[in-house]
């Protein structure tokens, strides 16, 4: 029997892309984990934190900590939300030692989904099959705050029928950036169109990432450009068979 994991599916996946959460649960169950979904979960608080509303972010963070305090592992289909909890909660609770301790304790058990597979349970072949040419988008917070780079690619490498074609700008930001995408819509739009060009140059049919927020930005721009490319979260790729 694998470890017991609590899913934190993130508010974006819960409300907009539930299939990503279901795929993640499928994969984790397939490799023998006991999967739990604490129903009181909502959001990690990042939107408020990134917009400069620390008190509001702290309120939501306290709620998150209370919900997940008992969990052994908290697995998250997002690098950005994982980093918010494992890195930025410390800044939020800098002046509240008691909450800081709780944030650190929970933060050390929060793991981004691909990292959970490659570094915790150390499974790279989950028995997936997807006949497609895909390209991989490095999401910024996973790449630069969590150093997630080769893990997702190794997982993709074990998917039968799948060919990975790297794009020339894999590490460049898609331009989402949370509220940045609407506060600075035109700049954000310019950024994602540069990224879309890079994706199209690969000839891939699918863009894969480990963050649904980047994929929302990319899919939204691909759709607007009527480009014949779709997006898939890594969990959805790994759940395919």
């Amino acid at each position: 029997m694998g470890p017991r994991v609590a899913l934190f599916v993130t508010c974006i996946v819960d409300q907009l892309f539930p299939r990503v959460g279901l795929a993640m649960a499928d994969v984790l169950e397939r490799i023998g984990c006991e999967v739990d979904f604490p129903e009181a979960q909502t959001c990690c608080g990042q939107p408020a934190f990134n917009s400069g509303y620390r008190a509001e972010a702290r309120d939501v963070a306290r709620h998150f900590l209370s919900v997940f305090e008992q969990a052994e592992y908290i697995v998250v289909p997002s690098g950005s939300c994982t980093s918010m909890i494992s890195h930025h909660y410390a800044e939020l609770f800098r002046k509240e030692p008691e909450w800081l301790d709780r944030a650190r304790a929970v933060g050390s058990r929060v793991v981004e989904f691909s990292t959970f597979l490659t570094e915790v349970v150390k499974v790279e072949d989950v028995g997936a099959r997807l006949d497609a040419v895909v390209t991989y988008h490095d999401s910024c917070h996973a790449l630069r705050e969590l150093s997630v780079k080769s893990g997702p690619r190794r997982l993709l490498g074990r998917v039968r029928g799948l060919t990975l074609k790297e794009m020339d700008r894999a590490e460049e930001c898609c331009g989402f950036g949370g509220t940045f995408s609407v506060k600075f819509a035109e700049t954000s739009g310019g950024m994602v169109r540069t990224k879309v060009d890079s994706i199209l140059r690969t000839g891939a049919e699918i863009v894969v990432s480990i963050d649904s927020s980047c994929l929302m930005q990319l899919q939204g721009a691909l759709a607007r450009a009527n480009a014949p490319v779709r997006t898939m979260h890594l969990a959805e790729v790994l759940a395919s068979r």
Partner: protein, 481 residues
């Protein structure tokens, strides 16, 4: 847009829609990125990460003890026969230069590249008193002719093509239209050589001030800084006081990082160590040597322990080249001479967060700046801190209440899972079905406001799922899976 807005200034659009400019900036910064990547690659510079840590620590130590090192520096400069002048702001610098020029009967100044003098508009201040000062760095010279501000900390004319330069030269110098870069360089050289020979004063910046030797260190590629600091009989180096490093033996750390981070060069073509005027028996060098140490708000930054690290910057420009926002909006849309991520961090600190409150928000927080910063300034963290200061400032000024109410309400909903779920279901029922399953190209006009309008102006919108994950999960558990 209200003055207190934290959203995109409308002037961005002109840059974003200028295809030629976009290509020029994207290509030039892309080339610099590529060169840097090669220059710091593990097989050429295995100690790169170690050097970054060292550089950060050295700057931290020096600035934590800046009062001591300023005195030490002054002692050494004085011992070498030079003079240190402390200036509070730009007008004090201008007053000093004007007074000196008057006393010495100086009429012409040559200048080498210095962001610090750009920061205080020194040329304009001197011109106001009929004292001519000529930029001698090629890029800066072009910009001075065109009456433009630097577009980039290291490559000031990065946005101009050779055709732009040809037009500027024809218009301002009356020469024939010349589009070959080498020939353009010769035209500038022809003008500038004469200026070097005639100038009474040379004004330079400084890349580093070395406390334990009193040296001013200048790196450059064109040789114009050498001429500026040695041909005229008076040399004035104008430097922000944060340029200090404690010991000469620490210099290699910075010299290895600066050229590589800026242009991908292991070392720049020239590295000059200047300490004091010409001594007896020496054949060249200035007769008088001054180091102007500029505060201009730096002591205020120094007082803040958290944000002090923004003073560690060695002005390599790598954060600009790697910033996807800078690469889109360019250097002239930033409110001050310092553009890009480092500009977004230091400008609000110098000018106050209320002046251009949108500035710290003009970032996707991708972290590319921090990744390439040779002195490891945690720019994304500083931007987040500044965002928090902006919202606090606005609350104090009784502005931005609508956004604040939205976040308060949002936070309350997020602490009440049942209400959160209910709101989600309502939103899902509210949104129309799109042509493509799950994605909307537009929404009814009464909904096309605020964030939705912003999103839809650039891309399609995902329709809220008709069943949320938690609802799926419940039926899955009931189904016995």
């Amino acid at each position: 847009m209200s003055k207190a807005a934290t959203t995109e200034p409308s002037k961005f659009r002109q840059t974003l829609e200028d295809a030629n400019l976009q290509l020029a900036v994207y290509t030039a910064t892309g080339r610099l990125m590529e060169k840097r990547r090669e220059a710091v690659a593990a097989d050429v510079l295995p100690e790169y990460q170690e050097l970054r840590t060292q550089a950060h620590e050295i700057k931290k130590h020096t600035l934590d003890n800046l009062d001591y090192y300023l005195e030490l520096f002054e002692e050494h400069v004085t011992a070498h026969g030079g003079k240190v002048v402390y200036c509070k702001d730009g007008s004090e610098v201008a007053d000093f230069v004007l007074r000196l020029a008057k006393e010495r009967g100086a009429r012409l100044i040559v200048k080498s590249k210095s962001m610090t003098t750009e920061e205080i508009d020194l040329n304009e201040r001197l011109a106001h008193h009929q004292l001519e000062s000529v930029e001698t760095d090629l890029g800066e010279y072009i910009l001075q002719l065109a009456h433009q501000r630097p577009y980039h900390i290291v490559a000031p004319a990065l946005h101009l093509t050779r055709y732009d330069v040809a037009n500027i030269f024809t218009e301002k110098l009356g020469v024939e239209n010349e589009t070959v870069i080498e020939k353009q360089t010769m035209i500038a050289r022809g003008v500038l050589r004469q200026k070097f020979l005639q100038a009474d004063i040379g004004i330079s910046g400084a890349n580093f001030l070395v406390a334990d030797s009193g040296a001013v260190v200048i790196v450059e590629n064109e040789g114009n800084a050498r001429l500026t600091t040695s041909a005229p009989r008076i040399h004035i180096a104008v430097a922000g006081m944060e340029k200090m490093i404690a010991r000469a033996q620490d210099l290699p750390v910075f010299l290895k990082l600066l050229g590589r981070s800026a242009t991908g060069q292991p070392l720049t073509v020239y590295t000059s160590f200047l300490s004091g005027p010409r001594r007896e028996g020496e054949v060249d060098g200035p007769e008088e040597f001054y180091v102007v140490l500029l505060d201009n708000g730096r002591t205020r930054l120094l007082a803040d322990r958290e944000k002090r690290q923004s003073l560690y910057c060695i002005r390599c420009g790598a954060c600009l080249n790697h910033c996807p926002v800078y690469r889109k909006v360019g250097g002239h849309n930033y409110p001050w001479v310092y553009s890009g991520p480092i500009g977004a961090v230091i400008t609000p600190q110098y000018m106050g967060v209320g002046k251009d409150p949108w500035l710290p928000f003009a970032s996707s927080l991708c972290g590319a700046c921090y990744e390439v910063c040779p002195v490891k300034i945690n720019i994304p963290k500083l931007l987040l801190d500044l965002r928090s200061e902006v919202t606090k400032f606005k609350a104090k000024e009784r502005g931005g209440w609508a956004e604040r109410m939205v976040f308060r309400l949002w936070a309350w909903v997020m602490r009440h899972p049942r209400i959160y779920e209910m709101m989600g279901s309502m939103a899902a029922a509210f949104f129309p079905e799109g042509e493509k399953p799950g994605w909307l190209r537009s929404v009814p006009s009464f909904m096309n406001i605020g964030p939705l309008k912003g999103w839809l102006s650039q891309r399609d919108l995902p329709r809220p799922a008709s069943k949320s994950f938690r609802q799926h999960w419940r039926s899955r558990r009931k189904g016995g899976r």
